[in-house]
Every structure is written in structure tokens, then in C-alpha cells.
């Protein structure tokens, strides 16, 4: 989000704004300026004080603490004991941990592109101005609001269970795979379906981006005889690439952090939080199990830091790749 740059003009016109406007009748310039600047500094930090307190107490402090815990054995009851890299060694050697990484990566790699393709496809459909557009847009957006709830996860579990509608439908096509939520290999796809169902949020962002593509570009392309597909590839896609980048970044980061739906859809009556044979044991589910069920706070902190590193790497790669495929309008953003 490169808009930290937008500060530049603000500092540039600072001098102009604080120049006295009503002639020399005002108090001596340097002193007044200094006083105002001091007052602004004070006011700035007073207004910011809740955020600063929150940042130190709930973000920066905990991050440092968590980094420390990652190198300790800590069960909440005894003081943390320094054990060096043992947590990391245990983590990498743990087949369940590796499995949870696999499940999560698969979920991200399959779910995110399908969701974004659905979002873009439907956005292209809705971008045509026709009657009912606003209604469809609102209806398609609704799942993004309720999708994270426990209710929807429960409904999902029911719809994808044995003999329910998905199972019956696949039987019509001669597939006798049974319900997805009971199958270690298939349960993850019910979670993919749940995230794809929430394509409305990125769709709304795509729609806003599509609206900003200048009409003249298409008219010019029409005159040149370029087909619809060419126009999409050479005009639409480059023009919406900043929005596409934003959606890819946000959706990818969010997918890595899936928890509630996996925990509910995978949760059985027996208290198994991770689905049949750990089929839906996404990374954060295992983190929860290790931290809050097994009281392994040190190990769970190490896991959390690995997640942070992974997310930071993905973010860095995306920002780096941006140069190659994202076109920013000059003078725009």
C-alpha cells in the first residue's frame, strides 16, 4: 500500500499554510510558528495516545514476549524455561505439524485463486449496467458478512455431510464419494467451497476498479477492431491490476489464518477439533490445540512466529512481483 507517499505534498505545503495571511499585523513570525509547531506536536501525540498505548501494550510488547516464549518451555503455570531452538526442532520433526502446513498450503493454493476468479468473473458480469445490478451486488456480498459465523459453519457441515445435498448431487453424476465432511481427504474442499462462497467481498472491490476504467479505451479498441478477449487482456486486466494486487494480497493473507470455520466444520462430538484423521487441521487449529489444549505456550509461540514468517515472505514476494504486472496510473495512487 504505497500511499505513505501521499504524505509528501502534505509536508510541502506546510510552510505555505502556516504563513501569516493577513499582513504583518500578526505576532513575530518565528516565535508564533514555533509555538504552533510545539502545540501541534503535543496535540498529535495526545490524539494518538490511545493508539500508542494499544500499539505498545497489545502489539509490540506481546510480539517481543512471543518471540521470547518461542525459545522457552512454557506451560503457563511455571516460569518460562529457556530451551534454545528445541521448539523449532520439535516442530519440524512433528509429522502432525508438517501435515497442518500441507493442509493450509493446499487450502490457500486451491481456495484463493478459485475465489478470486469467481469474484472477477462475476464482477465482469455485473459491471454491465443492467436492471437489478445493485440487487445482485448486494445479494452476492451478503455471504462475506455471515461466512465467518459459527452458524454458517454448522450449516456447511450439514450440507456437506453424508447423504445431504452435495452427496446426493454427486451421486447423480455417478460419484459415490460420500459426504465431504466425514472424509479426511475431502473435508478441506468443503472449506474451500466455504471461502469461495464468500467471493462477494473481493467482487465488490473488483467492481469498483472496473468502474474506473475509462470508456474511451474500449471505444478506441472497438474502432481498431480488437475483440472482447483482446480488450479484456490488453485493457481491463492492466487497468484493474492494482485492485487485483490488493485482492490477491488480502485474500492470501486471510486464507493463511483460517480458524473458526475449520474448527467448527472439523469439530466432532468427541472433541476432535481437526476433522477426521486431521483432515481439516489447518495451521491455526494445530496452534490452538498445542497452546490452549496442551498448554504448550512456548511451542505454540514458535508456531505463530513461523506463520508470521510465512505470511511476511508471501507478502514480500507479492510486493516484489508487483513491478512486473501491476500498472499504476501516473499521478494516481
Amino acid at each position: 500500500m504505497g500511499h505513505a507517499v501521499t504524505h509528501a505534498p502534505a509536508t510541502a505545503d506546510r510552510a505555505a499554510a502556516s504563513e501569516p495571511r493577513h499582513g504583518p499585523a500578526r505576532s513575530p513570525r518565528p516565535a508564533a510558528l514555533k509555538r504552533r509547531r510545539r502545540r501541534d506536536n503535543l496535540a498529535g501525540y495526545l490524539f494518538m495516545s490511545p493508539w500508542i498505548a494499544g500499539f505498545l501494550l497489545l502489539t509490540a510488547g506481546p510480539m517481543i514476549a512471543s518471540l521470547y516464549y518461542a525459545f522457552t518451555d512454557y506451560n503457563l503455570f511455571d516460569a518460562p524455561k529457556w530451551i534454545g531452538l528445541d521448539n523449532f526442532a520439535e516442530m519440524f520433526g512433528d509429522p502432525r505439524w508438517r501435515h497442518s502446513v500441507q493442509v493450509t498450503l493446499w487450502y490457500v493454493v486451491v481456495g484463493t485463486p478459485i475465489k478470486l476468479l469467481a469474484a472477477l468473473g462475476v464482477a465482469l458480469l455485473l459491471a454491465q449496467k443492467r436492471r437489478g445490478q445493485a440487487f445482485y451486488r448486494a445479494a452476492f456480498y451478503a455471504p462475506s458478512l455471515i461466512g465467518a459465523s459459527v452458524s454458517v459453519a454448522i450449516v456447511w457441515k450439514a450440507i456437506f455431510s453424508d447423504d445431504a445435498v452435495v452427496d446426493r448431487t454427486q451421486k447423480l453424476f455417478g460419484v459415490h464419494a460420500g459426504g465431504w465432511t466425514g472424509d479426511p481427504d475431502l473435508i478441506i474442499y468443503s472449506l474451500v467451497a466455504l471461502t469461495v462462497w464468500q467471493f462477494g467481498a473481493p467482487m465488490v472491490i473488483f467492481l469498483a476498479g472496473l468502474k474506473q476504467v475509462p470508456r474511451e479505451l474500449y471505444e478506441a479498441a472497438d474502432v481498431d477492431g480488437a475483440g472482447k478477449l483482446r480488450q479484456f487482456w490488453n485493457i481491463t486486466l492492466p487497468m484493474i491490476s492494482p485492485v487485483l494486487f490488493f485482492n490477491v494480497l488480502l485474500e492470501t493473507i486471510h486464507s493463511f489464518q483460517i480458524f473458526s470455520s475449520a474448527y467448527i466444520v472439523g469439530g466432532g462430538a468427541g472433541g476432535n477439533a481437526c476433522g477426521p484423521a486431521d483432515g481439516s487441521m489447518v495451521y491455526t487449529c494445530y496452534l490452538y490445540v498445542q497452546g490452549f489444549e496442551n498448554s504448550r505456550m512456548g511451542l505454540a509461540s514458535a508456531m505463530a512466529w513461523m506463520l508470521l514468517v510465512a505470511v511476511a515472505l508471501v507478502t514480500a514476494v507479492l510486493f516484489w512481483s508487483q513491478k512486473r504486472w501491476v500498472h499504476y496510473e501516473e499521478g494516481g495512487r
Binding site: 495571511r21 500499539f55 497489545l58 455471515i146 454458517v152 446426493r168 476498479g209 462430538a269 505470511v311
Partner: protein, 297 residues
């Protein structure tokens, strides 16, 4: 469709083909949209229909609505979950949601005002830090925050769930409000300053009233997020009397899910109603808020 124009003008061959080409296009558009709509709405219709079915018919039967609807699933809810009346969960969730909204509106707008309207030393650095927290996975903070609140003896209270909201830790809303405030005409607050208004006065009497759309969007999103939140209450609350709707529902599933499928489905739907109501009432604000967040990112 410009039917009027074609009626008056003599029908030339070119015109009829143009019209013929447009009609199927429009038809295909509506068919496509309706197909997507059906997929989107299916689970919602399913849960509404299911809540009026007998437990054993809910999963097995493909009919969306039962031929002999029953209301027993709903009357059963009046018995509560594990001897706790459903209303307790709703009151708890409502308290948390309203408390969150108040905190977010106050703390995030103060922070946003500082970023957007005050020039102070170190502003750019703090802004970069704030944007950084936007991308930070929450799970890194999960354990140390839990340890912190445990040491402060605040487990099983609402403080851990609310404190962050009053300390502007939700960077998304700060960001949304900063964007909005930057677009307000500069002349207004410059004029007020020349008239001797302090920042507090400008914030309260000029900027906040002008920011109403951004505040409404933030309030609705905060309410819905708080209502849906599952992980926070799961970790911090352990007394069922203090449970939110999400936790109550999960408790229902764990205790009687299979025995009382109908009640579970009915409860799921009831738990969704506040969010659906908010959506129907404010969908414009929500969708516009989403759209701008992406464009200015």
C-alpha cells in the same frame, strides 16, 4: 431497451440485427446472475427450510421446505441451552458488540484525526507502523496477549475482548477514517484554526460530523465482526453464563448437536438474524466502505 426509438423510426435491417443481438445478451446476463444467486442463496434458504423440519428430515431430505412444517425447533429454544436461557447469550453478545462499536468509533477517529489533520514530528513513521499492523497475522499476538490478560487476572471477563477496541488496534478502521478525513476540504479546518479553534474543537465540531459515512461503515463492520467473533470468546470466556451467541451455539453443537438437530439449525438461524438485519438496513454503507478500502489501498 430503447423500444420507443425502434417503434417510431422505420426499421432498417441494421437496427433489427442490433436489437436481436442485444436481447439474448440481456437474457444471458439475467440467467447468469440468477444462477449465481441460486448458489449464493441455497445455504440460506436451506437453513430457513430446515428449521421447520423434523430433525431426521433435515439432512436426508432434498426438499427445501417440509410438506408439514413444525415450529417445535423454535419453541424448544425457549428451554435454553444447558439451562441457560438463549436471551443471556444475546444480551452478552449485544453488550460486547455495542461496547466494541463505541470503542472503535472513539479511539479510531481520534487516531485518524491525528494522522490526517495534525502535522507532528514522527507522523510518517507511526503511520507506517499502523499500516504494518494491518498485515500482521493476529495469531502471533494470541498467546502473549492471553498470558498478559491472565497475569492481570482478566480471564473470564470481557476486558480482553474490549480493551483493544478502545486502543485503536483495529488498523483497518483507522485507515478507512484517515482516507475519509484527508478528502475533506482543507479550508474548513484551516479557517477554524485562524478563528482560534483548538484541535479538540475542530475534531468534535467539524471533522466528526463530516465523517458520518465513514463512522457508520466502521460501526456496522465492528458490530458484525464482534457478533461473529468466535476465537476471542473461545479463548477468554469459560463461564457459560458469560458466553456469547457464537459460543452458546458451539456449546449446543457439542452437547446435543446430534440428538437435537432441529434445535441446532433453528438456533443457527436465530444467531444470524442480527447480522442479516444489519445487512438489509445498511448494505449501501457496507458495500461502499468495502469498495473504497480497495481503491485507495
Amino acid at each position: 431497451m430503447s423500444a420507443r426509438a425502434t417503434d417510431v423510426t422505420p426499421v432498417t435491417p441494421a437496427r433489427t440485427t442490433a436489437r436481436r443481438r442485444r436481447l439474448p445478451g440481456s437474457l444471458a446476463w439475467h440467467l447468469g446472475s440468477l444462477a449465481v444467486l441460486a448458489v449464493i442463496l441455497y445455504p440460506v434458504v436451506w437453513v430457513i427450510g430446515g428449521s421447520f423440519k423434523r430433525g431426521e428430515d433435515i439432512v436426508g431430505s432434498l426438499d427445501l421446505f417440509p410438506s408439514d412444517p413444525i415450529t417445535g425447533n423454535y419453541t424448544r429454544l425457549t428451554e435454553g441451552i444447558a439451562d441457560i436461557p438463549i436471551s443471556t447469550f444475546f444480551v452478552n453478545s449485544l453488550l460486547l458488540a455495542v461496547g466494541s462499536v463505541a470503542g472503535i468509533l472513539l479511539s479510531c477517529s481520534l487516531t485518524a484525526y491525528a494522522f490526517a489533520k495534525i502535522r507532528f514530528a514522527g507522523r510518517n513513521l507511526l503511520f507506517t507502523l499502523m499500516i504494518g499492523t494491518l498485515l500482521l497475522p493476529y495469531h502471533v499476538l494470541l498467546i502473549p496477549q492471553y498470558v498478559l490478560f491472565r497475569n492481570l487476572d482478566m480471564i473470564n471477563t470481557y476486558t480482553p475482548l474490549l480493551l483493544g477496541k478502545y486502543l485503536a488496534t483495529e488498523a483497518f478502521f483507522v485507515f478507512l477514517m484517515v482516507q475519509f478525513m484527508r478528502n475533506l476540504p482543507r479550508e474548513l479546518d484551516e479557517a477554524a484554526r485562524l478563528d482560534g479553534c483548538g484541535h479538540l474543537r475542530i475534531y468534535w465540531s467539524i471533522v466528526l460530523p463530516l465523517c458520518r459515512p465513514a463512522l457508520i461503515t466502521s460501526a456496522i463492520f465492528t458490530f458484525i465482526n464482534s457478533w461473529n467473533d468466535f476465537m476471542g470468546p473461545l479463548i477468554y470466556l469459560n463461564d457459560p453464563e458469560k458466553y456469547t451467541v457464537s459460543l452458546g451455539l458451539k456449546m449446543f453443537v457439542d452437547q446435543e448437536g446430534l440428538a437435537d438437530y432441529g434445535g441446532m439449525i433453528a438456533m443457527s438461524l436465530v444467531a444470524l438474524l442480527p447480522v442479516l438485519a444489519f445487512f438489509l438496513a445498511f448494505q449501501r454503507y457496507l458495500i461502499d466502505g468495502m469498495a473504497t478500502s480497495g481503491l485507495k489501498g
